[in-house]
Amino acid sequence: MEAVNREIVKKTAEIRKELGQDFRDTMVEDIYKDAEQIAQKVVAIKSARQYDFDQKLDKILTSPVFGIPIMGALLALVFWLTIVGANVPSALLADGLFWLEDQMAQGMQLLGAPWWLTGFLIHGVYKGLAWVVSVMLPPMAIFFPVFTILEDFGYLPRVAFNMDWLFRKAGAHGKQSLTMAMGFGCNAAGIIATRVIESPRERIIAILTNNFVPCNGRFPTLIMLSIVFVAAAFPPAMASVVAAGTVVAVVLIGVLITLIVSSVLSRTVLKGEASSFTLELPPYRKPAIGRILYTSLIDRTLFVLWRAIIMAAPAGGLIWLLANISIQDQSLAMWIAGWLNPAGHLMGLDGAILLAYLVAIPANEIVVPTIIMIYSHAGTMLDITQLDQLRALLVDQAGWTMLTAINLMLFALLHNPCSTAILTIWKETKSLRWTVIGALMPLGIGIVVTFLVAQIWRLF
């Protein structure tokens, strides 16, 4: 049997030698010719109205001059809608949920529960949940549907088209802009999406750099900081626009770093030429609004929120323990934050922020709540429902400056992927080396960038 099979392989080799190199080309040509003939018999075009519309729109949206500015403007619009729309519901949710915290704490007290149980469950676990829900839910409930409308309309492939030349220049695959766009939703999803990239070299580049675009779990951090610090310096009428512009600026820095790192990788460890590809620009479609609301609210928002909640509950408990177990009159949280402080200071941050990032490795969604919990347990303030209260806590009590805010935004963009994303890198590459690089390289870049910014800032 085997001998016969080898016979076939041998025969194939002989025929292949005769055929020369153009078998694939001839074959593809034949298929196209055949398809053309069949299509001619089946399709009759009566008018080409919609076609004209699509082409006209593409001329604008993918124009070399306007394409990228329009893209930036749309991105800014999405963030602006998210910021403006999420503000009030966030405050309401926080009010309600923290009121409930007090009620439950009182209830526990009446039932005679020991202080530490009330503390752990209510001021730890529940508070963590309440923070995540009020910080995460409103922005997600707006961001996801708006982003999905653009996706459903058919805009994403146009983004890939506009950015193709940039990625090609960086020696990466043009489809990387698609996987990058997916990363805005979730980096783990973006990493899985790299399967559309044929060359393993370019695929690894896309996997390693996906973390440089902020995922949905990291947007709330960016949005909050841009409102509390950057926008606060401007008159209220302009605040939301400035905040949106700040988030866009951070995203653009992320894209820039994606391109730089891709370029460095493709010139060093992952050497090679960028491969060409055909990208289909699908027809524009009227978004199915009802379905979008359903899928983005029920599926995406609740899914991401659920993930954040199951991460936040244990983190909230952990932080409460750290803040309430004391050694020599100082809580564990303060000890750890104190140890991390010198490193934090070098990076223009502080020990509490670094501790929050350690606790938040499973899910980046809980970074801000964790920071706040560390500070508020350290000080006297317990509930923060308004942004000016938050500002008071961060600036007056914790001593944050504009440098802290800027570097925290940079660090939110540039640090190790969350544990889910790291696991996904492992699953997709099955290589320990790439997984380690994928986890540590962004962290290293984050440390270097924040360090440099802090040093330069302090010079002036």
Binding site: L19, F23, M27, V42, V196, P200, T278
Partner: protein
């Protein structure tokens, strides 16, 4: 007949009037009678068809490359249980990206009982590229000619009956977003599997040079593997230098590559080359 009427005709099939006997099973399929592969170009509405039939909620979106993994679900129809496998959308089965290999390996080695190919009626010619390749691999194909409403809006008249005649397999006009034509689609799939609807798949008209090469190779393959339904396609792959197909042939085992990560091999090869 206009497209609109055609769709009406399609949805007025006997079983749409006899009530809803499509039962969605989600992912709860333990035992099944038939395995159906769902193939097609990216962005043709495959996932929408999948969601409609299984009741699952695969994410759908208007961009190529959205589905990169295999999704599975099930439904029952006329007391038969069908397992539906949603393959990544691909333009062709000739290249080596992971998504294309996932699709190709399942069609070639997974031996589904039937394959539904979802086509975008508005860009029929481009979609035919993949259809013609799939027809070389398997006889049991039903075409879902999707986005018929969009084709109509664009002023195109797409005749599904001529297409069916040309391809030699059933062609069902559908509007998957509204669920139009999907019952008839499932009915045709069952008909093809059970032999009630005979198919005579179109063969790619190849140039004389290739035909000559195939004439030499195909009989050899058929002699060794008489049970193989797609010797011609295997020959084409061998002539194209497809290492994977060649290895499968040498071992005489066709299922060995199913589920294995192609990425590993390609990756190893590349790091070795570095």
């Amino acid at each position: 007949m206009s497209v609109k009427e055609t769709i009406k005709e399609a949805s007025a099939s006997p079983c749409e009037s006899c009530g809803f006997n499509l039962q969605r099973l989600g992912i709860e399929v333990d035992k099944w009678d038939y395995v159906i592969a769902l193939a097609g170009n990216p962005n043709t509405g495959k996932s929408t068809v999948f969601n409609h039939l299984t009741g699952l909620k695969q994410h759908t979106g208007n961009w190529p490359g959205k589905t990169v993994t295999r999704a599975e679900g099930g439904f029952t129809w006329q007391n038969k249980t069908f397992k539906l496998v949603d393959l990544p959308g691909t333009y062709s089965l000739l290249s080596a990206s992971v998504d294309e290999e996932v699709a190709r390996d399942f069609l070639l080695f997974g031996q589904p009982d039937a394959t539904i190919v979802v086509m975008d009626a508005t860009i029929l010619e481009r979609n035919l590229n993949l259809v013609l390749q799939i027809l070389e691999i398997t006889d049991n194909v039903v075409i879902a000619l999707n986005l018929m409403d969009e084709a109509r809006r664009k002023g195109m008249d797409v005749d599904h009956r001529i297409l069916a005649k040309q391809l030699g397999v059933p062609v069902i006009p559908t509007v998957a977003r509204q669920g139009t034509g999907l019952n008839l689609l499932v009915e045709s799939v069952q008909g093809v599997i059970e032999g009630a609807i005979p198919t005579k798949p179109h063969r790619i008209q190849v140039s004389p040079v290739i035909q000559k090469a195939l004439d030499q190779l195909v009989p050899e393959i058929e002699r060794v593997f008489p049970e193989l339904p797609n010797a011609r396609w295997i020959a084409m792959r061998l002539l194209d230098g497809d290492i994977k197909v060649q290895k499968a042939l040498e071992k005489g085992e066709w299922d060995v590559f199913l589920g294995e990560s192609v990425f590993d091999q390609a990756h190893t090869a590349e790091t070795e080359a570095l």
